[in-house]
C-alpha cells in the first residue's frame, strides 16, 4: 500500500493500531472536512507489531487539538511537515480541561439528556471529573 507523502501539514504517527479512527473522530474530521486526509491502519512498526498513521494535508493542529489526541492515543507522535521535511515533533499530553468534546460516561448525567449542556471535564490526577455529575473517569471512558 502506498500513500503519498505530504509537503505541508501534519502526520500523526505511532497511533496504537486500531485507534486511528478514534483520532480521526476526536479531531472532528467528518464528511465535509475540506482537507485531504489519509488514515492508514495496521502499518508494520519498528517499535511495536503494527500502528496506525493519520496524515492531514495543509493543516497544523492547535495545541488543544494535539492534547485531545492523548485521550485516545497517548503514545502518538505529531509531526509538523513543511517543505516535505519534519519541521517539529510533538507529543500529546493529557489536557487539564476538556470542554465541548467527549461524552460523560455516566448514562444518568444531565449532559446526556440536554442538548444545550456542553461537556466539561477537569483533570484530577490521571482522571477526569465531570463538572456536572462530579464522577471521575479515565480518559478513554470519555471518548468511547
Amino acid at each position: 500500500m502506498f500513500v503519498d507523502e505530504i509537503k505541508t501539514g501534519t502526520v500523526i504517527d505511532h497511533i496504537t493500531a486500531g485507534k486511528g479512527k478514534k483520532v480521526y473522530d476526536i479531531l472532528g474530521i467528518g464528511e465535509n472536512y475540506p482537507y485531504k486526509v489519509a488514515l492508514v491502519m495496521n502499518v508494520p512498526s519498528k517499535t511495536r507489531e503494527k500502528k496506525d498513521i493519520l496524515k492531514i494535508e495543509d493543516v497544523f493542529l492547535s495545541d488543544v487539538q494535539i492534547n485531545l489526541i492523548s485521550l485516545v492515543a497517548k503514545d502518538a507522535t505529531i509531526n509538523i511537515i513543511e517543505d516535505s521535511q519534519v519541521k517539529e515533533k510533538k507529543k500529546a499530553i493529557l489536557p487539564n480541561k476538556i470542554v465541548g468534546v467527549g461524552k460523560c460516561a455516566n448514562v444518568n448525567c444531565i449532559t446526556n439528556f440536554e442538548s444545550a449542556a456542553e461537556n466539561h471535564f477537569d483533570k484530577e490526577s490521571s482522571k477526569y471529573k465531570c463538572l456536572y455529575c462530579e464522577r471521575l473517569f479515565s480518559p478513554e471512558d470519555l471518548v468511547k
Binding site: 460523560c104 455516566n106 444518568n108 448525567c109 444531565i110 449532559t111 439528556f113 440536554e114 442538548s115 444545550a116 449542556a117 465531570c130 463538572l131 456536572y132 455529575c133 462530579e134 464522577r135 471521575l136
Partner: protein, 298 residues
Amino acid sequence: MNVITMHDFDRKFIETILSLAEEKDNSTENNPIFSNKVLATLFFEPSTRTKLSFQTAASRLGMQYIDFLTEMSSLKKGESFTDTIKVVAGYADVLVIRHPNEGAAKLASVICNKPIINAGDGSNQHPTQTFLDLYTIKKSQGRLNDLYIAMSGDLKYGRTVHSLATALAYFGARLYFIAPEHLQMPKEILDYLDKKGIKYSLHNRIEDVIDKVDILYCTRIQKERFVDIQDFVKIKDIFVLKPEMLKNVKPNLRIMHPLPRINEITTDVDKTEYAQYFEQAHNGVPVRMALLEYVMTH
C-alpha cells in the same frame, strides 16, 4: 451564590450556616426580610420534606413561592429542562431544584444568573439535607468534631450519605459504612476520604458497629436496585434496626434517617430516647431559612 455540592464549601462556611440556622431555630417570631422576593420550587421528582420545608422557610422569611408541577407543565409537551429553567428564572429570585439526573442543578447554575439551590440531583448530592443533618448532629452531640458516625443502607445510590460523608471529612469523623457489598459507598467518595485522611471501614451488619458510634444514620434500601429480587429478599431484614439492637449502645447515640422510612427502622424504635429522625426533619426549616438568607444576600 449557589448551593450545588458540598465540595464547594469549606468548614468555615458550614459553621457560618449552622450558626445562622441556630439563630433562626431560637427565634419564635417570623422574620419577613424578603417580603418582595419570590422562591420557585421545581421538583422533577417526588418530595415531601424538602419541598415543604423550603416553602415553610420561604414563608417565614416573608417570601412568596411558586411551585412547578411536572405533571401540569410544558414538560408534557416535550419542553427541555434547560428551557424550563430559563423561563422560571425570569419569574423568581431563587430556584430550588430536584431532578433525577446527576448534574441538573449545576447545569441550571450555568445557564441562569439567579441563585440555584440543589435539592437533590440523581444519586449525586443533596447538600441542603447535609446542612440539616450536620445541624441535627451538632444539636444532639454538642459538637461536630471527632465523632463516631455509622451510615447504613443504600450507600451507593443514596445521595444524602454522599453529601454527608463529604462534609464530615472536614470534622475528623471516624466513619463506618454498613451496606450490602454492591450498595457500598462509591469509590469516588472513599478516594476523597482517603485524600482527606479520614478513617473509615466497611461492614455488612449494623450490630458490628452500633455499640461504638455516636450517630447511626440509616437509609432506605430500594427494591429496584436489585437485579435479582431474591437478593433483595435475602438482605432486606439484615439492615432493619430493632429495639433489641440498642441494649448496649452509648447513651448519647442518636439515630437519624433522611426519611421516608419503609421498614429499615421498626416503629417501636421511635419511642426510644435514641430516635431523632423526626426532629431531624423539623430542623429542615431553620437550616433552609439560613441557606435562603445566605444565598439571597451573597
